[in-house]
Symmetry: C2
Subunit: 117 residues, 2 copies
Amino acid sequence: MAADKPVTIFNLLSEIPEHSPDEQFTALLERPGIRIERIVSWGHATPDDAPYDQPNDEWVMLVEGAARIWIEGQDEIALSAGDHLLIPAHRRHRVTWTSPEGPTVWLAVHIGSPDER
Amino acid sequence: MAADKPVTIFNLLSEIPEHSPDEQFTALLERPGIRIERIVSWGHATPDDAPYDQPNDEWVMLVEGAARIWIEGQDEIALSAGDHLLIPAHRRHRVTWTSPEGPTVWLAVHIGSPDER
């Protein structure tokens, strides 16, 4: 299989965008039923009046940085590197705080059929 | 939705098993067509005569530690924290080295229909 397309190595922590008005979303892999993406926050938070309400389950890990998250029906939770959670579809949630000191890098895996997205 | 089952936070870098004869595999999420797992290596390598030859695509990221990987048709590659790659189904590969100094923690996302596994 030496003639196959070479496998390329990327790094989640490289090419971190500068601080910007919006969080930065980068798709790493898109397939039917799955999308893996990097999210870079830098002092960003989800607006109080606009929680996420997603049609698909999302598995998410904080890779670098620090954040707090609110999930409907629960107390606010502080997250640090390595913390991961599964946010069920339509469970409303907000990122209430991310560190203003530097980038917070998330890895998100969105799970579901593409028809649902 | 306050009555929904609470979302639990886990940490990928906690409860790292002690060094053991074998690599440690922990399923984090299993769904039709997707399995997310943590792999902990500690000086382990894939035997020369038993490369991986997997029926499904695998997206994998080295989260902590250091490793080298051989992928059929390519030169050996050194991996460090944050490096990620997509290993296509049936692309033979071997982890040729992982640091003996401490745990190397991988996050793997196996992609494919459960019928293929």
